[in-house]
Symmetry: D3
Subunit: 161 residues, 6 copies
């Protein structure tokens, strides 16, 4: 299909930061999620740490929020963007931590990369936190759930509607 | 098990950058991997872009190498470390890109977080590259395959030996 | 008081970058100040260095200006913001250096954290500069003097009006 | 005194990063402290937030730890250094939060700037957290309490021994 | 000429980030160029590497794009700016690589520093790439070719119109 | 010549951070230089600014020193390195500013990229400073003059011995 190309490389294959000057400034929001896969023992430690002054999940949450801000520094072709809000949440399962991030902006491009980077950074911070107990911990299913705003409007992941 | 604790929080639950002053400087190496899950159409575009001057995979490789260097900035409790080598490789499957990163140091702590961060950053750059064609692309199985060196010596993932 | 809460944590106590998408873009300005406390000997050295080509105060001034730009990287829950102007000034007293910073923006949130970070960074650079002569040098009274613009309008420190 | 000069500027007054190549690698440690000055109401909110999942102090602690790592980026003439450990602690008083940071390295220069930067960054994060409730909150007495290691050996603040 | 002053220092000589709050938001574009000077042997290696999977030029291109984003971090008095597009291109000569960068924004100040920083960063990455073969490689003629938009309108380099 | 290859790409053309784990830690030093080309009017302004409190050259010097520290962040395949000293000097000519940087380390790789980055960053800061007066200012001849230490020993630029 001739019209389906990678937008981030030009016709000669050269990488570029796509020109978005002509796009409208509008409120945009993205939700991404991912999962830490670990052991029941680790989840138990995180739960106990969820008690007074336990910083384990806070470290990961802050890693996620700061990760969202670092997106243009981590993802080479991303535009620097005026993030207007970020939240990162965790749900503890039996052997998993579900990570969800919501990012907002009022700018010219979407914020799904910021939401994905928040999830990845939070996931990396969780692995770092638990790796002495579970060196096999992994991060999976880092994906966009939903994006809203901009010209393309609402996109929502089919298998999770 | 009372003795199994999260090393990154103290007995009161406060986060800390663990003191590694007394650990030996030694050659250490870590290998991590992960997977971009996308569509056959995207893989085809990446393959074609693998032709002259195609920068798509190069962007992701460099994102991975630079991501490894940014680890102490992304993962809050990681020590700044003297990375002495980083490689990032890609294997194109039918609907996947397998990402592998190897990191090396001659320092006081292991480099598995650097390898994992390289894989995550490369994965994020790939998603950014293909998201206009496949907005549902995801990153999975970001995990350590193997770590060598230091007091604990060789650790290798059981299910992938 | 039920309505008085920390805005940066939600009702469950989780940290967040507050959503400011709905706030108006408007001209905002903040002034912050602080003080380096040191010895008369150090002040004398800084004064002499204030002569041709003396870089001591310039280093601190630039640390302050660059510190203002790094605010979202240093203060975890701060929004990235379009700073439109920063000045940092010093007044040498007998055993003190008074540091004043003014920051400006045309954005959705105030810039008092940027002004405070400029003062703190300039203060740290001054301590670094003089610590070989006065290892007991300290930074005090880092505070907002005045903020203007935005919905809340003018706020000015009572004891310094 | 002719021999007492600012080490960070040369004889012509030009700033420089002092050459420490010839200094010995040795274990070094520094302790710094500082104080957030606020209202009893804020302290009460922080205490309550010290309950399950309250992230307020965790945000400041992590800002401090990450701030220590960012020192060479914030303080222009500081050497990049291999931090081997950082802790940041808080003691709530009636209207104050006492901030203490301990930094460690095994490198060629001391880590007191890293400890001071940790205290300043934690203080800034606390101000950011409480500023909606107490816009007059300030940071004071950011100072080195003690440094150990290196050629100069132990230095300890007189008024706080 | 009394009215011709360095805008980045005030009347007392103190550096400042100039206040641009009152300037209009408008579409702006800048083009800068520069040259890597090296040997015919290196150019031949770069050409050959221009074949399948060769990352050499891609590394330099990405260094340029990311360098443009880092401008406010590298150039002390530059405003942080919302870059809306960056391209970096290379033309191989006999013993030279001509580097061209185009930057775009819709903001309050021009983007010529961003274009120059992109060229310089790409040039540095090229030198790093070839220095084992040609330790004498150099970067020259880093200059603005053209800037458009804003109150001053079009400026174009005389000797290259 | 088959054996002359770009060390930063492997046999398949993929970029990498070369493994230097086996290289010796040794004292290394590099000197680089470059030139700002501008007008006699600008040089006159810089000279006058060289008087009391003039920050113009100080801004460029600090940009150079901080640029040296940012090298691994700007040049994608550079190793993070323990810089032990940086100086940046300027010589004003009739229509030029000669920029010289000396960098030192005690580490596993040379510091010529750090010296070149210091020169480039200082040059960019100078252009930024003078661009309102001379929009045609350019940076040229950014090159290594001399490197010492490590296995290859002394290398010195032929045309400038």
């Amino acid at each position: 299909m001739g019209e389906t190309n990678l937008t981030h490389v030009d016709e000669s294959g050269a990488a570029r930061m796509v020109d978005v000057s002509a796009k409208d400034v509008s409120a945009r929001r993205a939700t991404a999620a991912g999962q830490l896969r670990t052991t029941a023992e680790v989840i138990d430690l995180l739960r106990r740490d969820g008690l007074p002054k336990g910083d384990a999940l806070a470290v990961a949450r802050i890693a996620g929020i700061m990760g969202a801000k670092k997106t243009p520094d981590i993802v080479p072709l991303c535009h620097p963007i005026a993030l207007t809000g970020v939240t990162v949440d965790f749900t503890l399962g039996e052997t998993t931590v579900e990570i969800t991030a919501v990012t907002r902006t009022t700018d010219r491009t979407g914020v799904e990369m910021e939401a994905l980077t928040a999830v990845a950074a939070a996931g990396l911070a969780l692995v770092d936190m638990v790796k002495a107990v579970d060196p096999a911990a992994s991060i999976s299913d880092v994906r966009v759930l939903r994006k809203e705003g901009g010209k393309t409007g609402l996109w929502s992941r089919e298998d999770e509607q």
